[in-house]
Subunit: 321 residues, 2 copies
């Protein structure tokens, strides 16, 4: 089959990648649409030690699997877990000690014609959620994880730092959960802030921002040391700072403001797919307008380049014509 | 009066430093004994922008003040607050926007014959707590702050990283609060670990430690980027990492393990003096044996040098002969 493979420090289209074969309790899925995420870009920059088929955001159709899934349009959770270790046994299977992560660690990803996933990772997408919306299930689940970890009160002053893909989802989730007039998006791109403003959420350009430690909850979706430093300046004493993005290792960071201000910093990663699917079906979060470019699988290298341009939000790969 | 003053990048004895004069609601205290803290060392290395009399850990006797304090032996809280800002008004006066911090920011410290403090900062020391123990009220309050911010359950596996002054106090507090057999001190100095072991707390040398992410609560008292990296490796997914020490700015730190493991990092600073005084009076924490050297005020520069030697725990300055 055709697949976009990261190997030896390069991303390349391989037209003869072996077709995956489902084992017991696994499902074979024909990938229809895939999305490029910041983690894919980090892998291509060599920040993670992954080699194999790239990609983990997708919508596909089940080709081989249990009867109830046959021909269904599905999405898939990215953590493939053992079910046996101390983490799995204590209900924290997303943190499985032996986990593989699709397209990120030890398991081929979805920038390919076919992918194999454990049955338990697969969720059926309702008709109300199209392929282009379904791509956002994984990042939206990650955004929803914020409010699972940090209860937001209506009185809380909340600011999301970073107007990229994740920031635009996170700010909608937080505005829905808290008091919309207390929720702000801070970014560098006027056109991305406009997306939030159309949904009644105030956007502020970084150049116009007064960096004062007065926000109850700050969510850093920038993925940069510079953005994290801004976030540290905004959080009030005893406030909460949610750190969403995994970073390039070894950034230069001054953590002393967190100690002096007794800040609670909460690392936050993947979330629950069912919540995200329901949220999209109920149209509580809007993803229309977030897709800024689309490419064919054979144009995958160009798609990755495009995804790194400043104006881009979400770049799709139409795997199936 | 005589005072140890940090000015122009150097610490020097000044024999003609002006005597401080108490204003309204202030107390004049004759300093008897003072202690050197890691923050003092940081200031002398130029990491903070403070100039003036150094020092904030002390026991003294009230010379001028309200009748109920006259001639009393006292200790003093280090934050001088305004009582008016949003933080003070919301009960977080330790985070006062206009605060001065004794010997650290905007207020002369205690390595001097006399110091002036706001009345509200001053606490009488009971006879059960001698001068040498009273020196530990401030750092012990900081150690007790940990269990105010993070409730410890008996089942929690707790590890304190760093066997310095603060680590040796923190591990005693945590062993007292949780299940002593689940509490461990990790350090680099066999003789300091022995201090904990004498109190029935297990000590492990860093070289002998298996760095596995399996600890529910990790408390970083090292004050170094290297120590923080160790702490990050020890905390289990969804565990808690308490960061006690303010650092040298701009250390190179990789925060991605905190995101991937969804760790809760809690910055922790000063605590409540009354708790610390009561804990010392009840002998729930032992500080005998933590004092490794003592100097006169006129030997202050040597005292600061001594405090930076590896084998030292707490170095005292006997201000009054």
């Amino acid at each position: 089959m055709k697949a976009l493979v990261f190997r030896g420090g390069h991303l390349q289209l391989d037209s003869n990648w072996p077709d995956p074969k489902p084992g017991p309790d696994e499902v074979l899925i024909e990938v229809e649409t895939a999305g490029i995420c910041g983690t894919d870009i980090e892998i291509c920059k060599g920040y993670l030690e992954y080699e194999g088929v790239l990609g983990h955001e997708f919508v596909g159709r089940v080709v081989k699997g249990p009867r109830e899934l046959k021909d269904k349009r599905v999405v898939g959770e990215i953590n493939c877990v053992c079910g046996k270790c101390d983490m799995c046994q204590s209900g924290l299977s997303n943190h499985c000690r032996d986990r593989q992560v699709i397209g990120i660690a030890g398991h081929d990803g979805v920038f390919a014609e076919y992918v194999v996933l454990p049955r338990r990772n697969v969720h059926v997408l309702p008709d109300a959620v199209g392929n282009d919306e379904g791509i956002f299930v994984e990042p939206l689940a990650a955004a929803l994880q914020i409010i699972r970890q940090v209860p937001i009160e209506a009185r809380d002053k909340v600011i999301v730092v970073g107007d990229g893909r994740l920031g635009l989802l996170a700010v909608q989730v937080l505005a829905e959960q808290g008091n919309k007039s207390n929720v702000v998006l801070l970014g560098k791109h006027a056109e991305k802030l406009t997306f939030a403003e159309k949904r009644g959420i105030r956007g502020i350009l970084l150049d116009d921002m007064v960096l004062k430690s007065q926000w109850d909850v700050v969510v850093d979706c920038t993925g940069s040391a510079e953005g994290f430093a801004v976030a540290c300046q905004l959080v009030r004493p005893r406030g909460v700072l949610v750190l969403k993005s995994t970073w390039a290792a070894g950034a230069v960071v001054d953590l002393s403001p967190l100690v002096i201000n007794e800040v609670k910093l909460i690392g936050s990663r993947c979330g629950t797919f069912v919540d995200a699917i329901n949220t999209l079906a109920a149209e509580q979060v809007v993803v229309n307008g977030l897709i800024t470019s689309r490419f064919k699988l054979t144009e995958g290298e160009n798609a990755m380049k495009k995804a790194q341009e400043p104006g881009q939000i979400k770049v799709l790969i139409d795997v199936k014509d």
